[in-house]
């Protein structure tokens, strides 16, 4: 299994992570060695394994649906690099129009 530059760029888009030209070759090398390593798993016969049964965990508990007041709103908004009043300013969303 070998990964191409095109595939790697596509993965970068899915991950919202720009992959620079200078990063391409070392990343390809890494992908090729790790994907090759993952091939090991094909040695196993897993046809009988159901991966999603929960064996021994406690059933998920739900919290009571009640209002718990918290005064951290300001401190959360203040962490934004571009707060404007009660809003956070971001660059334009959408196309060129």
């Amino acid at each position: 299994m070998k990964i191409t530059s095109e595939e790697l760029k596509k993965i970068g888009v899915l991950a919202r992570l720009e992959v620079g030209e200078d990063e391409m070759e070392p990343l390809k090398e890494h992908f090729n060695s790790i994907l090759n390593y993952f091939e090991k798993l094909s040695e196993l016969d897993l046809s009988d394994v159901d991966p999603f049964t929960l064996e021994d965990s406690q059933p998920l508990k739900l919290r009571k649906d009640e209002v718990i007041s918290w005064d951290g709103r300001e401190s959360i908004l203040n962490q934004s690099p571009s707060r404007e009043g009660d809003f956070i300013r971001v660059p334009r969303i959408g196309g060129d129009s």
Binding site: I3, L8, I11, G12, L14, A15, R16, L17, E18, V19, G20, E23, L27, H30, F31, S33, I34, Y37, F38, K40, L41, S42, E43, L44, L46, V49, D50, P51, F52, T53, E55, D56, S57, Q58, L60, K61, R63, G72, S75, I76, Q79, S80, P81, S82, I88, V90, P91, R92, I93, G94
Partner: protein
């Protein structure tokens, strides 16, 4: 002995019985930090003034007859991926530089309520991804036993801080060995609790199905005491389980290995690793035998042969999702001059994340992407299930399992930086424990000729911490408590 060299339980007793003050303990630890830190570099931030103010306040409360808690006046450092209200929490990443969480992690709250005094936040591999503490944007931490070598990772700062005598105990997190491996490299105790024992609320998420918070210490008594404080059900973490609270400390004195069945893994016998580590394992096995335990060979073929490949699919997959939140909008680093919101995401993440974090995000995105999910992620989930079942079968035959922590002792700084796969391979013995959600305890059983700590780990069944702590207490009587790295520093 200087105050900094006491264990956490000793410190708490000395303070409670009025033989020393909280302020004196904090000052002793800060002096030790000032002496060692220029060379060890275990810390990302120090809370010097605040720690003294808190110590004064605790001394006052004590003077007025108040009970200041089981860890009253005991200094601690926290891995810098645990949220601390109003104090920077960086995950050793440029992308979180300057971020001050608006709340405390549950573990931080519990420790503070128990009277512990936070001295600061310790270094780690960026977002806890690594085994050497070399990928921190704040620089490399050195092993206090040999400054040319790594302390292990990812909780390398927390381990180095305890080994260097900064604090009697510290807190780390373990996703694939990040508590146990640095504990072994630094010659101290490290406990990765059962998944669900300690709340992860406020721990910056890496791989949520594997992450677990746990302590480092120099004595088993301390580990037990800390687990009593932090092993508490937390409704704020949906994976926290409401198990009966254990009195770990009182179980220690009556701990005994007579009649216990301790497993040794056949596949490790066949594994090619450092003969010094092999010798350490043999010594530990012999000690168990001498104490009356029966040594039982067991097979964990899937875990040992396939656990690593399985982990390096599942952990990056979860990381790619968990780290999607770092987008440059709400907090942390934000790239300048972005011309659209998409462009802001792409640039912020390119500039804010380091190489290893990027590798994991991209690998994780790949194995989850359309067309590859079945071949990688789904297959790895099946292997994980098979590993869990394999452990369940093993624990029908044994009470605990003893095995190496890492195939080597602490390696040189820079030695593996350019060989990612070799760095990954070093996790082979720690990862299966996380895959199965079990508790694992790493401890020192000796030193190599060049003075490097050699460790082993014990694995217990689910909720088997009491068993593990008991076993470690028996081993401690034979191998001694963990030592502070005594090398003279200029």
């Amino acid at each position: 002995m200087d105050l900094y060299g006491l264990s956490a339980c000793e410190m708490a007793r000395e303070i409670k019985e009025g033989r020393c003050s909280c302020v004196a303990v904090v000052k002793s630890c800060l002096d030790r930090i000032d002496m060692m830190e220029p060379e060890v570099h275990a810390m990302i931030s120090l809370w010097r003034d605040e720690a003294i103010v808190r110590a004064e306040e605790l001394d006052k409360r004590l003077a007025s007859g108040e009970d200041i808690g089981p860890l009253g006046g005991v200094p601690v450092v926290l891995k810098d991926n645990l949220c601390t209200e109003g104090h920077e929490t960086t995950c050793a990443s440029a992308i979180l530089k300057g971020w001050k969480p608006p709340y405390n992690a549950t573990v931080v709250k519990l420790l503070t309520n128990a009277g512990a005094i936070i001295l600061g936040k310790s270094n780690l591999d960026e977002f806890a991804m690594g085994g050497s503490t070399e990928s921190s944007v704040y620089g490399v931490t050195s092993n206090p036993w040999d400054l040319e070598r790594v302390p292990g990772g990812s909780s390398g700062g927390s381990a180095a801080a305890v080994a260097a005598g900064y604090v009697p105990f510290s807190i780390g997190s373990d996703t694939g060995g990040s508590i146990r491996q640095p504990a072994a490299f630094c010659g101290i105790y490290g406990l990765k609790p059962t998944y669900g024992r300690v709340s992860r609320y406020g721990l910056a998420a890496f791989a949520s199905s594997l992450d677990q918070v746990g302590p480092f210490a120099r004595t088993v008594e301390d580990l037990a005491k800390i687990m009593e404080v932090i092993g508490v059900y937390d409704p704020m973490d949906s994976t926290s389980e409401d198990v009966a609270k254990c009195d770990f400390s009182s179980a220690l004195s009556r701990a005994d290995l007579k009649g216990k069945r301790i497993g040794v893994i056949e596949e490790i016998e066949e594994y090619d690793y450092d003969p010094r580590i092999k010798k350490a394992l043999d010594d530990a096995v012999q000690a168990c035998r001498d104490e009356g335990a029966e040594i039982v060979p067991i097979s964990l073929a899937t875990a040992i042969k396939y656990g690593l490949a399985c982990y390096y699919i599942l952990a990056p997959a979860e990381a790619s999702s968990n780290l999607a939140r770092y987008d440059g909008v709400r907090y942390g680093y934000s790239a300048k001059d972005a011309n659209s919101v998409e462009d802001l995401y792409f640039k912020t993440r390119r500039e804010g994340f380091g190489d290893e974090v990027k590798r994991r995000i991209l690998t994780g995105t790949y194995v989850l992407s359309a067309g590859f999910y079945d071949a990688y992620y789904l297959k790895a989930q099946k292997v994980r299930k098979a590993i869990k079942e394999e452990f369940a079968r093993a624990f029908d035959k044994v009470d605990s399992i003893v095995l190496p922590v890492s195939p080597t002792s602490a390696f040189k700084i820079g030695e593996l930086v350019d060989d990612t796969m070799a760095m990954y391979m070093a996790d082979v013995f720690t990862i299966p424990v996380n895959m199965a959600g079990l508790p694992g305890l790493a401890m020192n059983v000796g030193f190599s000729e060049e003075g490097l700590p050699l460790g082993v780990q014990f694995i217990g069944p689910k909720w088997g911490e009491e068993e593990l702590l008991g076993t470690a207490a028996v081993m401690e009587r034979r191998f001694g408590k963990a030592k502070i790295a005594s090398r003279e520093v200029k």
